[in-house]
């Protein structure tokens, strides 16, 4: 075992899906932030960014639908994985602060295909996605059906989803690509693969269930 052996963590289509969806969300984030975060409104003048926002949302909503149609089983698995919590997840939560501050890796409970933090991120993606889309539909098409006071609260739902998704996206970017411990996480979202060692250290349960016994 001189060459580091690799295991497939994500399929190519999942990697594509991830980055197209990311691109769509970043466009939505920026064109939304300039209407929301204090003092950034200048570029929104003229309204072109609001049209871009509407084009981007077609991808943001459309790409997951296409992905789901092509991979219904994997998509359902993803949702199940997000919502399935066990004892190890709660242990993970208590140990995570020390771990992320460079503490002893061996104290972490073994994790499945994704760890507890990733599950929480997946849940936030799903939950804020639903909030964004529902409130967004009213803001785009159904404004006239709502009393102004009700409409205002739909805008606030959109705002809350923004704050949560934006902050958690920052956490996701940091822990997924920049954190000194997550050396192969970004790579796994690029070519879909991670080294066996990384898989064993980070996703022991998943590694045992899938690639581990292939040796």
């Amino acid at each position: 075992m001189t060459e580091a052996r690799v295991v497939e963590r994500f399929r190519k289509r999942t990697v594509w899906f991830h980055w197209i969806h990311t691109a769509a969300f970043l466009v939505l984030l920026v064109t939304g932030a300039i209407l929301f975060l204090p003092g950034l409104g200048g570029p929104a003048a003229g309204g072109i960014t609001r049209s871009i926002h509407r084009i981007a949302v077609l991808f943001f909503v459309g790409v997951p639908i296409v992905y789901f149609i092509i991979n219904p089983r994997m998509s359902l698995q993803f949702i199940k994985e997000t919502l399935t919590w066990g004892k190890d997840d709660f242990i993970w939560l208590t140990k995570a602060p020390d771990y992320y501050f460079g503490g002893d890796e061996s104290k972490m409970p073994p994790q499945g295909h994704v760890n507890t933090g990733q599950k929480m991120w997946e849940f936030i993606v799903l939950a804020t996605g639903v909030l964004f889309v529902i409130s967004g539909i009213f803001m785009w098409f159904l404004k006239d059906t709502l009393a102004p006071a009700v409409f205002q609260w739909f805008v606030i739902v959109h705002d809350v989803a923004f704050v949560v998704a934006f902050l958690m996206l920052l956490v996701h970017i940091y822990t997924g690509s920049l954190h000194p411990r997550m050396t192969e996480s970004l790579r796994s979202m690029w070519d879909g693969k991670i080294s066996e060692k990384y898989a064993r250290d980070h996703y022991a349960k998943w590694f045992e269930e899938t690639s581990g016994h292939k040796d």
Binding site: L40, G42, K143, V155, I156, L170
Partner: protein, 288 residues
């Protein structure tokens, strides 16, 4: 295809910086709000519902003309209707309140406008710059009087806001607004707000002596409207909320936006510290 962690780090840091570090100062720049300055006083007891104000507004502001408006089906405010009448029938007599932007001192539209298209003019009215309007429509939804009107393309979402400008060009060059100039009965008076406040109170007293129960509206509402009224009935009858307020949802939005931006900056700073701390401890571990 490969990207190095370093490149990604640089790119991500740059993008985050761009997003967060823009000065928040422009949000604070809209504060020339004043309850002084100029104003209009609308006295419903002097209005004869002749629609001259309506016609003069359309004429001066080049708004598309419509047929003769009727008191039974008065035109609603619209992108091309910046002022109209709110007629009230009482014992076979029509009394109308001229309805348009009230130019609040504490204006919800200015507070929620993300681009600074809406702002306070030194003379006291609420002005807007169409070139800056993004068409988001928050002003229309947050105005307690339902004044701003959006001209919206349903599919593309391209929109632009319209409302009474207080005849910006006229008043800034010393003239009175077109509606006030056109009014034949003195139901619309233009002048110093302080003078008009006194005039409104005197008029209510005068009406009272003649046995007409009248009230003022707009002297204190929303820190003082720059369109005030003498009403001979309750505000609601004339389509005005008794206690208008800038919606609390506007404040919630403000808090959320500052909270979101602030937490994002804290988070990025926290990641930096975490990165250094984690690296430090992990290296220590390797040496042992």
């Amino acid at each position: 295809m490969k990207i190095s962690r370093k490149d990604f780090l640089k790119g991500a840091a740059g993008a985050t910086g761009l997003l967060l570090m823009q000065p928040a100062a422009s949000a604070m720049a809209k504060d020339s709000q004043t309850s002084e300055g100029m104003a209009m006083l609308i006295d419903v007891t002097k209005c004869v519902s002749c629609w001259w104000c309506y016609a003069a507004c359309k004429d001066y502001n080049n708004l598309p003309e419509t047929g003769k408006p009727s008191l039974t089906e008065p035109p609603e405010l619209a992108p091309s209707v910046w002022t109209t009448l709110h007629p009230v029938l009482n014992e076979n007599v029509w009394t109308s309140r001229k309805k348009a932007c009230n130019h609040c001192t504490d204006a919800a539209c200015v507070e929620v406008c993300p681009t600074g298209a809406l702002s306070y003019n030194d003379m006291g009215f609420v002005q807007y710059d169409k070139d800056k309007c993004s068409g988001c429509g928050y002003c229309a939804e947050f105005c307690p009087f339902g004044v701003p009107q959006m001209d919206t393309n349903k599919i593309t979402g391209v929109a632009i806001m319209n409302k009474c400008t207080f005849c910006h060009d006229r008043v800034t060059s010393g003239e009175q607004p077109a509606c006030a100039a056109a009014c034949t009965t003195g139901a619309i008076t233009y002048g110093n707000r302080a003078d008009l406040v006194a005039e409104a109170k005197a008029r209510v007293a005068e009406l009272g002596q003649n046995g007409v129960q009248a009230t003022t509206y707009g002297i204190n509402e929303l820190d003082g409207l720059h369109v005030m009224y003498v009403l001979n009935d309750s505000p609601e009858v004339y389509g005005l909320p008794a206690a208008p307020e800038t919606p609390p949802t506007g404040i919630v939005r403000n808090v959320l936006s500052w909270l979101g931006g602030g937490l994002a900056i804290l988070a990025v700073a926290g990641f930096g510290l975490n990165y250094l701390a984690a690296r430090f401890r992990m290296r220590g571990g390797e040496k042992e």
